[in-house]
């Protein structure tokens, strides 16, 4: 029952954020970069539902554009890094032996570099930009997915139906494609959902530090950094972007939790 509620609430939050982001690509209530110094830090009104920021830009418009940036970078990075990592994990599992051992040692080593630290290093090296932030997050996801995919695949490789496939005369590649991938898809989708939540947090933190999205691009993390200087004058400026981040992360987290319960083999076994 609880996972049903998680699933629905998560889907609603993610859907809302994604919709806001998508709409912002075509239309926002106000032009994103329109500066109106006379109207800065305006209170919410019919014209500006959430008011304006320190430069008089419409807050709602910028939050919507922030959703587009945040979600696309997070999802894109996880898909890219996750895809590569999954491929490597599958390969390691199918091959076994030295290949597997070497790949897993590399993963262990990469876990010595905390994700945020690594992203900071990359941002420092290649200059701060949203694209580099995304690449750094993608890179961090490679070993995570390699490990999860390899672990899940190893559990499938020892199942009898894989042995039956081998007895039938099928090769490693065919078995990986026909048996392993479909059977590890569920845990990987769950992992991806959860990693997207983590990626949104990372992107926000990097942008807050000035290492991610650069002005005038709208980004939740950047908006928070700007709002912090105005805490004494306009506290609500610091509330909205944070709420957006929390809602997006919460949405993906709940979605992942709900999916995990839904995909739990124990539950499936019980229904069967």
């Amino acid at each position: 029952m609880r996972h049903r509620a998680s699933l629905i609430l998560g889907a609603v939050l993610v859907g809302l954020m994604a919709a806001a982001g998508l709409v912002s690509l075509a239309w926002t209530p106000w032009p994103l970069a329109e500066i109106d110094v006379l109207n800065k830090l305006a209170a919410p009104s019919a014209a500006h539902p959430l008011g304006t920021d320190g430069l008089g830009r419409d807050l709602l418009s910028r939050l919507m554009a922030g959703a587009a940036n945040s979600l696309s970078v997070a999802a894109g990075a996880v898909l890219l890094g996750g895809g590569i990592g999954t491929g490597l994990g599958l390969l390691a599992s199918a091959w076994g032996g030295r290949v597997e051992e070497a790949l897993m040692r590399l993963c262990d080593l990469s876990f010595a570099f905390p994700a945020l630290l690594f992203a900071i290093m990359l941002a420092a090296a290649f200059g701060p930009s949203l694209l580099n932030t995304g690449l750094a997050i993608a890179f961090i996801n490679v070993p995570i997915f390699a490990r999860v995919a390899r672990g899940a695949a190893n559990q499938v490789w020892v199942r009898d139906f894989v042995l039956a496939g081998r007895a039938a005369g099928r090769g490693r590649a065919a078995i990986s494609r026909d048996h392993i991938v479909p059977n590890i898809a569920a845990p990987l989708i769950v992992q991806a959902t959860i990693e997207i939540a983590t990626a949104i947090l990372a992107e926000a933190a990097l942008s807050y530090l000035g290492l991610g999205a650069q002005p005038p691009a709208a980004s939740w993390g950047r908006m928070l950094a700007e709002a912090q200087t105005l805490l004494w004058v306009a506290p609500m400026q610091a509330v909205w972007p944070g709420l957006c981040i929390t809602a997006a992360v919460l949405g993906f987290g709940l979605l992942g939790d709900g999916l995990r319960d839904w995909a739990d083999p124990r539950l499936v076994r019980r229904q069967a």
């Binding site: 199942r159 009898d160 139906f161 042995l163 039956a164 496939g165 081998r166 007895a167 039938a168 005369g169 099928r170 090769g171 065919a174 026909d178 048996h179 479909p182 059977n183 499936v268 076994r269 229904q271 069967a272």
Partner: protein
């Protein structure tokens, strides 16, 4: 007597054990030592033993999933471990396997028909209609219906799943079937059905059967001859009738005791 279908000669298999000390290697675990036997076409050989007796290792060697350290397995006179992978793959339709756990031996995400057709596809048979006909035929052979091909494993009971696994194993019309604890997970009333089905199929198709298990009663009911294994070694072998009436090795006698239970006096306490 006809030429044997399967010959296993002097099979030995060891597994490395983790080191306990840094500099001294542990002696390897001997899973199987000098096992030899032969099966004629249509014949049934039972291998009885307990966990750690090496019987599952034996099945894996016969199926070519692992290579022996010494000895060889010949099917139709060909050493399957010496064959190049392609040639072994071409030989696969001749020998198939059924497993213990009917819940684990079918891919839960594939329709039953897909799983049954898998050995055919691997053998290069790809025509849609010919695959469908062969699957239907196999399903009917094991007492299910052609319509079951479109259903998923979780829609079936344990006994029915084992029938499906058998259908997959016989769909290529093999000469040899290897069954590893194939009825151990089944309820008594269903187990008898599966044993009968195996005997029917053998007689109809001239199938040789290597039947591996731990329950002497089951093995004795099904097999022409029996090999008793303990700790990787063959401790006794012979025709079933001789082995169950006059077991020579104490371990065989213990297995018989366990199998006979109800014919003993009640509560035979030491």
């Amino acid at each position: 007597m006809t030429a044997p279908l399967l010959i296993a000669e002097g099979l030995r298999k060891t597994y490395p054990r983790p080191r306990r000390r840094l500099l001294r290697a542990e002696p390897p675990l001997v899973a199987l030592e000098d096992a030899s036997f032969a099966i004629a076409p249509g014949e049934t050989l039972g291998i009885v033993g307990e966990s750690g007796s090496g019987k599952t290792t034996l099945a894996r060697l016969v199926m070519g999933f692992e290579r022996p350290d010494a000895g060889c397995v010949r099917l139709d006179g060909q050493d399957i471990h010496a064959l190049p992978p392609r040639a072994l793959q071409r030989l696969r339709p001749r020998f198939q396997m059924i497993f213990q756990d009917p819940y684990g031996s079918l891919d839960p995400r594939r329709q039953v028909g897909w799983s049954i057709a898998e050995p055919l596809r691997a053998a290069g048979i790809t025509g849609r209609t010919s695959l469908r006909d062969r699957v239907a035929e196999a399903l009917e052979q094991v007492g299910l219906s052609a319509a079951d091909a479109a259903r998923y494993p979780h829609e079936f009971s344990g006994g029915q799943r084992q029938r499906i696994a058998i259908a997959r194993a016989v769909v290529t019309r093999p000469a040899l079937l290897v069954a590893d604890e194939a009825v151990s997970a089944l309820d008594v009333s269903v187990r008898a059905q599966i044993l009968n089905l195996l005997m029917d199929l053998q007689e109809a198709m001239g199938l040789g059967l290597l039947f591996i298990g731990h329950d002497m009663a089951v093995i004795a009911a099904l097999c022409d001859s029996i090999l008793v294994m303990q700790e990787g070694r063959v401790v006794e072998a012979g025709p079933t009738a001789r082995l169950i009436t006059a077991p020579a090795h104490p371990y065989t006698r213990a297995l018989m005791d366990a199998a006979r239970g109800e014919t003993l006096t009640r509560g035979a306490a030491p």
